[in-house]
Amino acid sequence: MSQVVIKDKIPQLELVASGHVACPGCGGSLAMRLVLKALGPKTMITMPACCWTIISGPYPQSALSVPLLHTAFEATAATASGIRAALDMQGDKDTTVLGWAGDGGTFDIGLQALSGAAERNEDILYVCYDNEAYMNTGIQRSSATPWGAWTTTTPAATPKSHPKKDMMAILAAHRVPYAATTTIGHPVDLIEKVQKARATRGTKFLHILAPCPPGWRVADEETIELARMAVRTRVFPVYEIENGQRWRFTVDHPGDPVEPYIRRQGRFRHLTPEQIRLIQSDVDARWDTLKRRVEYGA
């Protein structure tokens, strides 16, 4: 039954070619494939330094069947604004300008440009594919890395000591017309959100959880399952926000315990049961806050 639904909902169109150079099981490459299925060929992408800089292929190759402008690490939203302005001058209102950045390029170095574009309500779609660290440079912590995680700059002896930044609240505070989270394990939800974003004028922000086998220290075949576990455990709730005001869950969050999700990942191997309980209570507290926003508005 569910398979029939998925087949109906997910376009057959493929704009990511085979032969790209992503790692096996890469969540980020699946994210791009699904987003482009929903956007179609009238799309222009700009992306900063990130895994996709490599995945899309070296000059003169490209794994994408839409135009792609590489840009500097902190410049995604500003570059996208420039593309939009040029298209506006050409009278092209139909092409979607897609800013495509990782969590480092969004949460950290690209936050200023993103805030600027969001405040100006630029008519762009900004997608952050979040693998929770600087994976392309070899697994260094970003402000999207969860508390307690090992990375090469937060060694197991002193793992990440700050919680993941609440990026969605920042975007909501800008009152952008549309902001949403989703994961690569929820393809129908993802496609619907991209389609909704495409039909919305102004700044759209999509935060996609995209597990990374080498960075999370998991097997290649586990990414989709982990993305779904992150949602079931409420570690990564899936919801949407309109105009910073109306918050709405779009999938079920049964509230499974976080421990199996944490234990599956090598990056959390060093954590004690007590530390995992701390993660659980943080997840619970954040969930309560989010639920209140959904129930009562921002």
Partner: protein
């Protein structure tokens, strides 16, 4: 004022996308352009970005999508753009920018010197240093034509306050005449969903070097294009500037080299000294990148003494124009090779008065008497003891 000359140049050039961030002493450029866009006198999208880095990034996005693109900045703003200046040039985008020459902090300063723009020497932008507001307006329009002919970005540079905020009469050409000189830009390559390509992708050691070689070839081509465009401008509008200009250098035994507004003061000094019978001339360097090596050699070969006035300093070395001119003249025959005297002057907006320039001439004559090369490559003029 010079800032309005910039804005009018941009308006007449029919820029389509402007992305800029305000900084003293550039602010009237963005204010005037905002007014022009608001009134519909200039049909452009003006993106009021949150930083200069984003200004240049937005220009890169717009130019990559085929729009004629402009920005303006100064000092700290230009330094913040640095990464994207390389990007614009490396991506071969004909973006035009006005930089109001302002000294770099600390201490905080808003006054004129050239260290901001000269610090961007190696980013791959053409650089023009202007002497008058008329030259600013004319150069801005020329800049788009040059940039689009060679697919390289161009920086028009004017001194803080001495030009940016100083009023002088400027002839504003007719729109129709400018349109005939500068037709609509049709990008050779641009983002196009009907013909998708990837721009700026990973360049391995197998391909990178050729990309930089093409860029260098375009710079060489620009030497010729700059002259052609200037010649056409002269034919249409009756004013020419050249990459460099020689002023009263006939038979000179001492030539002063200057750039920016110091040039006008030097003209005045040269006239005064010529009246007294001194054989002194002036070479104005307007184009600093690409460096007009051949023109500089022709202008200065056989001149015994050359005094270079630098409103800038490369700390640990010397004035930057002096350094480049010395290098350009090194290959002349020994009998033809001038002695170069380098003077650091007017940093951080310090006034450069005629007597300061006469002081440079006197010191040059004094040093020349010894028959030996100057003791220092950087002689600081007009400083407190």
């Amino acid at each position: 004022m010079g800032n309005h000359a910039v804005s009018w140049g941009v308006r007449l050039s029919r820029a389509e996308v402007i992305a800029a961030y305000p900084i003293t002493p550039q602010t009237q450029v963005v204010e005037e352009l905002s007014e022009m866009c608001a009134k519909g006198d200039l049909k452009a999208r003006f993106i009021k970005v949150e930083s200069e880095h984003s200004a240049m990034a937005a220009c890169i996005g717009a130019a990559s999508t085929g729009a004629r693109t402009f920005t303006a900045t100064s000092a700290q703003g230009l330094a913040l753009m640095h990464e994207m200046l390389h990007w614009a040039a490396g991506a071969r985008l004909p973006i035009v920018m006005a930089d109001i020459n302002r000294a770099m902090a600390p201490g905080w300063t808003v006054w004129a010197d050239q260290n901001d723009s000269l610090s961007q020497r190696d980013t791959g932008w053409l650089q023009f240093y202007c002497e008058s507001n008329q030259e600013v307006l004319d150069s801005t329009i020329q800049a788009f034509k040059i940039a689009e002919a060679v697919d390289l970005p161009v920086m028009i540079i004017l001194d803080a306050f001495y030009l940016s905020h100083t009023y002088e009469p400027v002839d504003i050409p007719d729109q129709a005449e400018v349109d005939a000189f500068l037709p609509r830009w049709v990008a050779r390559y641009r983002m196009d969903t009907n013909d998708p390509h990837s721009y700026g992708a990973l360049a391995t050691p197998a391909v990178y070097m050729e990309m930089r070689l093409r860029q260098q070839e375009a710079m060489e081509q620009a030497l010729k294009v700059v002259d052609e465009v200037d010649e056409e401008w002269g034919r249409r509008f009756g004013r020419r500037y050249g990459a460099i200009e020689s002023y009263r250098t006939e038979g000179a035994d001492l030539v002063i080299v200057a750039s920016g507004t110091i040039t006008s003061t030097t003209r005045h000094v040269v006239d005064r000294l010529r009246e007294k019978g001194e054989k002194v001339g002036l070479v104005k360097v307007r184009m600093f990148r690409p460096f007009p090596t051949e023109a500089v050699r022709r202008a200065l070969a056989g001149v015994p003494q050359v005094a270079v006035l630098d409103r800038n300093i490369s700390p640990g070395h010397c004035g930057i124009f002096a350094e480049e001119i010395r290098a350009a003249l090194y290959d002349l025959e020994p009998g033809q090779r001038p002695v170069i005297h380098g003077y650091i002057i007017g940093l951080g907006g310090r006034d450069v008065r005629p007597e300061n320039i006469i002081d440079c001439v006197d010191r040059t004559r004094e040093a020349a008497k010894s028959g030996r090369p100057p003791a220092r490559e950087d002689v600081w003029v007009g400083v407190q003891p």
